[in-house]
């Protein structure tokens, strides 16, 4: 049994976000899982994955001054992003991106070789 049976990858091969959607009540969430819908409890094959563009509006962001772990070196910025379709999630953003601006995410390699999606401002 493979863990991806319960927890699908975050992205598809095209770099789109894989958003989970409950086929019973339409509830959507990200990051995706098939453990069960938080609204109605449906699970497994009743949860489908919808490729969704990694773009939306930056709600807020802050600079993390202290961090010791894999990935980016501090300081770096993280933000809340409202995806097109109203779902909200958090990710790395380019520092200084104004709240309310349109952003899209791109996979970016960090100094330690790990790859993270970083959101930056795009022209409307």
């Amino acid at each position: 049994m493979d863990a991806t049976e319960f927890v699908p990858p975050l992205l598809d091969e095209n770099g789109s976000l894989l958003v989970a959607e409950c086929t019973h009540d339409g509830h959507r969430w990200f990051p995706p899982d098939r453990y069960g819908c938080q609204r109605c409890g449906a699970y497994g094959e009743d949860i489908r994955l919808q490729p969704t563009s990694a773009s939306g509006v930056l709600v807020d962001s802050v600079v993390v001054h202290r961090y010791r772990g894999p990935g980016p070196n501090a300081p770096f910025a993280v933000g809340s992003i409202r995806l097109d379709g109203s779902l909200q999630m958090r990710a790395l953003v380019v520092d200084g991106t104004p709240a309310g601006s349109r952003v899209s995410g791109e996979r970016t390699e960090q100094p330690d070789g790990s790859v993270w999606m970083i959101f930056s401002e795009v022209s409307a």
Binding site: D60, S61, V62, H65, G105
Partner: protein, 382 residues
Amino acid sequence: MTAAATMPRAAYVIGVGLHPYQAPSQIPYTHLGLTAVRAALADADITWPAVESAFVGTALVGAAAGRPMLRHLGASGLSVTQVENASASGSSAVRQAWLEVASGAADVAIAVGVDKPAMRSDGYRESGIVDLADGLIAPPTHFALLLEQYGRRYGVSAEQIAHVAVKNHRNGAANPNAARRQLLSTEEVLAATPIAGALTKYQCCPVTEGSAAVIIASDEAIARLGVNRSRSVRIAASTQRSEELYDADLFPDAELTRATTAQALAEAGITFRDLDVVEVHDAFAIEELVYIEAIGLSEPGRAAVDVAAGEFDIGGRCAVSASGGLLSMGHPVGPTGVGQIAEITAQLRGEAGTRQQPGARIGLAHMLGIGTVCIEHVLVKD
């Protein structure tokens, strides 16, 4: 729902004790916990064999922390249960002890919170679910994002939010059990080491170790053991809920607090206006503001102004975090929720010394545990 009013009998806090919260040391958890338990026994003026059941709240020590510690009080054969509920572990221990006494299962039960910091995992990290910022958003960052959202929505500045840390450190400076006893100005709070967003070191609770213990007893036990009834404090509500689904622009911890508070106040038969002292989960300064509002003590967006105006100072209309709160007293995790009950008990007895809220008769303790769960207790001095 297990409402206090529907339980067979009332239950009372009869003894409280603490080992001061402090920077991590080489002292084993056993000594920390035994110090608090012995202080609570002395405070209640009872002996260990009278305690029938123990709940040990700990999140970081590891499995089976209870009996290896408690046996040193005398291997009495009492019931021992370890309780883990993240930051609310101690609050859960208090609730379990209350349930045993109020239900009639035991006459005397003790809740002991004890912890030493350690880097361990949690259910979220082990769930198999990762996200785009996996591991990058530690609690200070989570709450720094909330601060941004709150400040923007209500036009509240970082300077105004810093008043929470000033107030709580002033309270904690007068608390011998507090880890960070330091008077701070607004300028000092704002100029301190930045952690995440606008949150500086003094707006984030310190990592600490320590212990707290609370003994809960029935009327019958109070009479049988000759406990001083005038120092006992009734637990009027013990309420626990967990997070539901909320709209994306709402802050889940605030909504959970709102629902839990409504239930706790209804169980106790009071309103928020009756509260004289409140201890909240102020792990980060912004949290105190949103919980003050969720409890109902301030209108939405007004808590920072009310804090700055002294309304939640000791001597104000309701003393919030009179102990110093998590920001100054510290957040050793397992002990924190038990320590809140100890503080409110001292306040309602009129034994809080220079931290005493004048005329305090009703208090509320509020803790959250990641997951998220919320536990509240209402204490009343009849």
